[in-house]
């Protein structure tokens, strides 16, 4: 019984983890159809901000929930203005440019902070469930994933900014004729996506510590989740996160963590062979 609960919690944690990692990327992809190849480095940046500010005396939760999203969000807006904006409609070029940015950031951070791992201890201790101990931080991740999805949904559904965003997502030319400055919408989207990624990086920092090339360890999962989910931000991320989280956790239980990612990719390839636009390209097409 206890073991069942633990297994379920582990699967939920894996799903939540994918959702948190991929949400920022999914926001950008859903709106702009562009994959930010520097996603891993945006995570890394969020992690560094968290650790640095915490070391400077800021409470950890403030660092994770405020400083990391804010800084990375602003950085995202800067990147959008300086780079992405010039590459609208040139999707391949924007992939290449963000990949360049990724290398640039890894190199830059290495030059500034050195190629070492820095970290803080994971807060929240652990909670006993029967004979098992569950890290409290894992439960927090599940809650954060749920809140994050709910917040994005509410933003899109109930605010006027969300309405503009949805309109632009459906038909950018039409939105433009209705007086929407799509260029600003894209800037805000990229900023918001980056902020969410910054939050994910902040949450990551106490778990894994931070190092310049840490992003590499997380981008595969994030990318697979987003392309498997397809263009809908919430439905796509949730459905792909659930499917892939379950698969990877199942494989991890069976064979250890090494094959988890490979199983994810294989599952995604098979799925894309059937649904080339991702899950929400065919199912839940009209959802957010």
């Amino acid at each position: 019984m206890d073991y069942t609960v633990i297994v379920i919690l582990e699967i939920l944690r894996a799903i939540s983890w994918l959702v948190i990692l991929a949400a920022g990327l999914a926001i950008i992809f859903g709106m702009m159809k562009v994959i930010n190849f520097a996603h891993g480095e945006f995570l890394m940046l969020g992690g560094y901000i968290t650790i640095m500010s915490h070391n400077a005396g800021v409470p950890l939760w403030i660092s994770i929930a405020v400083l990391a999203p804010l800084t990375v969000g602003l950085f995202g807006i800067l990147v959008e203005r300086l780079v992405i904006r010039h590459l609208y409609g040139r999707i391949i070029d924007s992939l290449l440019a963000t990949w360049g940015l990724s290398l640039l950031m890894i190199g830059g951070v290495t030059m500034v902070f050195g190629n070492t791992v820095q970290g803080v201890s994971t807060p929240l201790g652990s909670i006993a469930i029967g004979a098992y101990q569950v890290p409290g931080y894992n439960l927090l991740l599940i809650v954060v994933a749920a809140l994050l999805m709910a917040a994005i949904w509410a933003l899109l559904r109930y605010t006027s900014a969300g309405l503009i965003a949805r309109a632009t997502m459906q038909n950018p030319d039409m939105a433009e004729t209705l007086g929407v400055r799509t260029s600003w919408v894209y800037m805000a989207t990229f900023g918001l996506g980056s902020a969410v990624t910054g939050l994910a990086g902040g949450l990551l920092a106490p778990l894994t510590g931070v190092a310049p090339s840490m992003g590499v360890n997380f981008v595969a999962q994030s990318f697979i989740t987003v392309i498997t989910g397809g263009a809908s931000m919430i439905a796509g991320t949730l459905s792909a996160g659930t499917l892939l989280g379950t698969i990877s956790q199942g494989v991890t239980f069976a064979t250890g963590p090494v094959w988890g990612d490979a199983a994810l990719l294989l599952a995604a390839l098979v799925l894309l062979r059937v649904l080339p636009q991702g899950i929400t390209g065919r199912i839940f097409r009209k959802s957010l």
């Binding site: 992939l95 440019a97 990949w99 890894i106 190199g107 030059m111 990318f223 392309i227 894309l272």
Partner: protein, 337 residues
């Protein structure tokens, strides 16, 4: 536009340069220079794998390092087990080509969009890198070859004369063999591009729908082109392993994939000579910059990549060519209009 190969001066110039270097190189260079230039030759073979499929097949792979690494490990494992290098070298082409065909089947028969293809090819590389990094334990061995995880496989055999496992090539000979491979590859690719098969590739690059409307199976054709590119990258990986007599997971790194993209972009998509020149120039520059220990290598690579995309989207050689044409034709062109 339509030029037959034997009348293209550039084609003969490239071959002449290659053959001249092949003959004269070992006579004029010292050992260090030979080693350095051999490295450029190997990386040139590698970059051609991408320049061909991207420039002449319209297929952008963000994961050539997956095939490069697969070729490097295939060659290492096979040659350690077999005690000779000829068959392993062929395997370094064959196995990645097969893997490329399988991956290509999923991508092209699934009709994935460019973004999806980019992501999938990149993720494949990442996963190889992760998997191979986790093979440190003694249980991860194929025959006599321990994979060694992040430490890699030491003492990969040097290339030997076919049929004579004891007759190892010295660095000068290895340079000559590799240079010959590069020249032959260049001739083969140029011939392939000029053939009917190559024209269909160009057609698919220009307009997939029309190619299908003419009765060409676009998906199958792309799988073949992709697999050829994968095989070439794999062969380059095999050359890399035997050149270094050592292989580690870095052959699967994202930097390795990015380098192929950067060299191809810098040289110009749609040429073969340009990317080779870019390999030599950019590798030499990053070597010199690296020696100064001011800038990190990734920082330089990333910076070059962004500058290329934003400022020189057509690539070095075509931009130079256009500039020359514009300079030459400036006045007459103005008068014509």
């Amino acid at each position: 536009m339509e030029t037959s190969l034997h009348r293209d001066a550039g084609f003969w110039v490239m071959i002449a340069i290659g053959l001249a270097l092949l003959v004269a190189g070992p006579l004029v260079w010292d050992l260090f220079q030979i080693m350095q230039i051999t490295q450029y030759v190997v990386l040139s073979v590698y970059v051609l794998s991408l320049s061909y499929i991207w420039g002449f097949g319209g297929i952008l792979s963000f994961g050539q390092a997956a095939f490069f690494g697969l070729g490097a490990y295939t060659f290492s494992v096979a040659s350690i087990n077999m005690g000779e290098t000829t068959f392993p070298f062929l395997l370094a082409f064959g196995l990645p080509a097969l893997f490329g065909a399988a991956l290509g089947y999923f991508m092209f028969y699934g009709k994935l969009s460019d973004v999806y293809m980019g992501v999938v090819t990149m993720v494949v590389t990442l996963i190889f890198w992760k998997l191979i990094n986790h093979t440190a334990g003694p249980e991860y061995a194929i025959g006599d070859a321990r994979l060694g995880g992040f430490n890699g496989i030491p003492s990969v055999p040097v290339l030997n004369v076919p049929g004579k496992p004891e007759a190892w090539l010295d660095p000068g000979q290895m340079f000559q063999v590799f240079m010959a491979i590069l020249v032959i590859l260049y001739i083969v690719l140029r011939t392939l591009i000029a053939s009917d098969f190559g024209r269909v590739s160009l057609g698919i690059r220009e307009n997939e729908t029309r190619a299908a409307l003419l009765g060409y199976d676009v998906r199958r054709h792309k799988v073949i082109v992709f697999a050829i590119g994968a095989g070439i990258a794999g062969m380059a990986g095999g050359m890399w392993a035997t050149y270094q007599t050592f292989v580690d997971p870095n052959v699967f790194s994202l930097e390795m994939s990015a380098k192929a993209l950067i060299w191809t972009m810098a040289g110009g998509v749609g040429t073969l000579a340009g990317p080779i020149i870019a390999v030599v120039v950019l590798q030499y520059l990053s070597l010199k910059l690296g020696e100064m220990h001011v800038l990190n290598n990734n920082f330089i690579l990333g910076g070059i990549m962004m500058v290329l995309v934003l400022l020189v989207p057509k690539g070095g050689l075509p931009t130079l060519r256009d500039a020359l044409v514009a300079l030459k034709a400036r006045t007459p062109a103005a008068l014509q209009r």
